[in-house]
Symmetry: C2
Subunit: 207 residues, 2 copies
Amino acid sequence: MSNSSHHVPAIVIGRLPLYLRALTQLSSEGRRVTSSQELSEKLGFSSAQIRKDLSYFGEFGKQGTGYEIEYLEKSLREILQVHHLWDMVLVGAGDLGHALANYDGFESRGFRIVAVFDANPSKIGKQMAEWQVQPMEELDKTLRERNVNVAIIAVPAGAAQAVADELVEGGVRALLNYAPTTLSVPPKVKVYHIDPVAGLQSMTYYL
Amino acid sequence: MSNSSHHVPAIVIGRLPLYLRALTQLSSEGRRVTSSQELSEKLGFSSAQIRKDLSYFGEFGKQGTGYEIEYLEKSLREILQVHHLWDMVLVGAGDLGHALANYDGFESRGFRIVAVFDANPSKIGKQMAEWQVQPMEELDKTLRERNVNVAIIAVPAGAAQAVADELVEGGVRALLNYAPTTLSVPPKVKVYHIDPVAGLQSMTYYL
């Protein structure tokens, strides 16, 4: 097993945000130290798994004393590169776009919406939270001027691939996709698919 | 490694819906056979991982001929228990609730919203997609009469735990949680947390 961060399996990377979320919660409760056992109970992964995942990135815990929450939290933020804010565009100003524009959990965890776009003339110019909805024709300019790397796609399934293509063309390298469809993107671009049904199906197995 | 379905790690169960989604897409494209290599390219897990995951549940593929899509799809639906429809309540009739009520990907994949609830008097009685929003006072009755096991929580963070408690009290055993907060539930209850920031953070690692 390599210790180089270049060989960390994607599945491990996918768990780091959950560790970070749990640590942030513990720290908001005034806690200073935790253990892989406690994280295991909170998250449902085995404590051996958690220790193994974290060991890819260094020695965070000591036998018998556990993990220092503040240090581990800071380290995970740096590993995930969310110790600074990522500018993000939101495409789609429907109900879901509204909900996302009003979601107040982005900035504290490393992300900030800088502009909102929609193709529907009836939505363009409308105020949505603190943003005025802009036409898709403005998208490319915004992406390039602000060097935006991250985008949220909250458009209907039929429009999502074309939106993804425009975003990628404009330099976006990470897409959070709410549209119920699979997107084709170049290998250098990451897609995270928010799929409520996959979440539901992973629970019905146990019912 | 046990072959008993009682000992399948949760992490494996969590990947089955993604396999199912990919198979359904292939089958909608008229395909009949696939391979762990092709699924690997579509999903980003290694083909060895995919073969190992599926081997928990039987012998689905043959060396050299791959997987029969229709058979594997049907088997995964049965394993995940989504070969029949689960009745589901939606709590929260805000922007996100609206988006979920209009989401048309539930029924084809095993779920059906049967009622929508909100605590806000200004929302109660309003039509939302095909449902009339009901007051929270009606929740328990609906859960018991229809024997509902699955619910979606789309309320603000501050209200989510109380809603979860009511749902669990009424017999719900699987919660899809959109509220940006961790929920405490009894061990028999499953929670799947839709966390857009965790998705974003799992991508910024690579940027």
